[in-house]
Symmetry: C2
Subunit: 315 residues, 2 copies
Amino acid sequence: MENRIKTLFGIRYPVIQGGMVWCAGWELAAAVSEAGGLGLIGSGSMSSDELRRQIRACRRATRKPFGVNLPLMNAKAESHLDVILQEKVGIVFTSAGDPSRYTSRLKAENVRVCHVVSSSRFAMKALQAGVDAVVAEGFEAGGHNGREETTTMVLVPAVCRAVNIPVIAAGGIATGRQMLAAFALGAEGVQMGTRFVASREASCHENFKKKVLELGEGDTMLALKSLQPVRLVKNEFFEEIHWAETHGVKPRELKRLLGRGRSRKGMLEGNIRHGELEIGEVSALIDEIKGAGEIVREIIREFEKELNRMKSLHL
Amino acid sequence: MENRIKTLFGIRYPVIQGGMVWCAGWELAAAVSEAGGLGLIGSGSMSSDELRRQIRACRRATRKPFGVNLPLMNAKAESHLDVILQEKVGIVFTSAGDPSRYTSRLKAENVRVCHVVSSSRFAMKALQAGVDAVVAEGFEAGGHNGREETTTMVLVPAVCRAVNIPVIAAGGIATGRQMLAAFALGAEGVQMGTRFVASREASCHENFKKKVLELGEGDTMLALKSLQPVRLVKNEFFEEIHWAETHGVKPRELKRLLGRGRSRKGMLEGNIRHGELEIGEVSALIDEIKGAGEIVREIIREFEKELNRMKSLHL
């Protein structure tokens, strides 16, 4: 059975590391790509100069394919795009915005483009914009999320039914079993963010990594629904905004309450109580910080073991 | 590979029909059991006399095993239990309440007991209460739901890790592919509610069945979080309570606003705009009303086809 994701990106294993803000620097991306997956540099928390340095450092660290995640609503998106094209990055994952904005410019430079979607309607829009693949990211995923709250179990088959380009499943995936489940739903690859936050190479603060290990079921929640929904750790910061959200506080007031730099404070500076900590539900299943390459190999091993177990299954 | 769910209930296929209020009468339960699955009578919307009539009618309609779903917080739970024991029902699925309440009484009468859980903590509580199996029901499921919002993709592996009794996956499952995904996650059976609402034998109003066919992604939402979370169709009834919930209305006021009999009004009487319509996210994938037996056979056929496809998979 052909796997279009491996062919599209020229990688050995269809395991993609999410380009998470404050976590996904060149060390992480290079380690994942070196192990045969696809590493992504997360440009969302970087200046364009920083992004350029990160791309160059990644290229020195690995000769394998890697990419950049580009959030389209980011104020620096346009200048990030220039850097990406100047540095001849071959793979771009766009998210949070209109896929028609840059796809044709990227495709004209022979860049492989993949767009993150939270619904089959957005997947069709991405297909029309000319992307090569989509990431179908469910409600359980960490960070920015869709408004419709469709979970990975429902979203992946819905997107696979709607478009005929390859689909990468994201949200709630950290193990080989979950990767196999995603393939059963029709995906040809998986993207994992949360699992790679708890990796040695992630560039976030150690306090955040340790917090991820402690999280159990119910310790994250989708918040900020009146602005842009984000899945967060339920810490003091969350409680503050959650109270406001359930007591009729208007979006503009909510923005002021939020202040600026709360995700930097949480994820980069390690303020676990008052910072914004973006992470997925699957943190409940993660108990150990590991090397990113080891994470890729472990997932593939478990995937193959579980696939063998499934082969002896009959009803 | 042994399947403990088939053995436990003495059924041919590990496909269980949820005991949904206003939908799961004897006609539906008997049709599912006749097709080799496990049909459940939903006692939550019945009087105890009605439940007795339903059990007797189901026994006349099929000699195959069937069961009753018993919501434990229901005011009639105690008298329902008497009926279940008097009528010698062999299988009971308990939900929404403390599993230690009736499990030992049921087990003493040789009844197979399965409890519905929304977290691994509740699964361990059910194990301690002595149940034979658990249903791990994710956030995407219709009707009553957990507070932690853990989705099927994360919940099923978490519950399988926590307990060694067999696990039935529920929430977001309506197709053979999704059933296969649930098995990849470690489940040994699936419970489906939404798929069987859109069946010829479901006892709800035709208006509700037709509404289910129309629903797309994002057309249901988890509501009533300050009382008891329930996944509903986003109709006028939903909009009313959603406004109240996001504007600091207290639980007691919310209860008054709800009024009584809104689920009856919606699901039994067919008031699609002002009634409460409990349904899961997977309604987005359902386009046709079918016979319940046909639904069981179709799911098994797709499961086997997709399993064969997976057998030719390698990375």
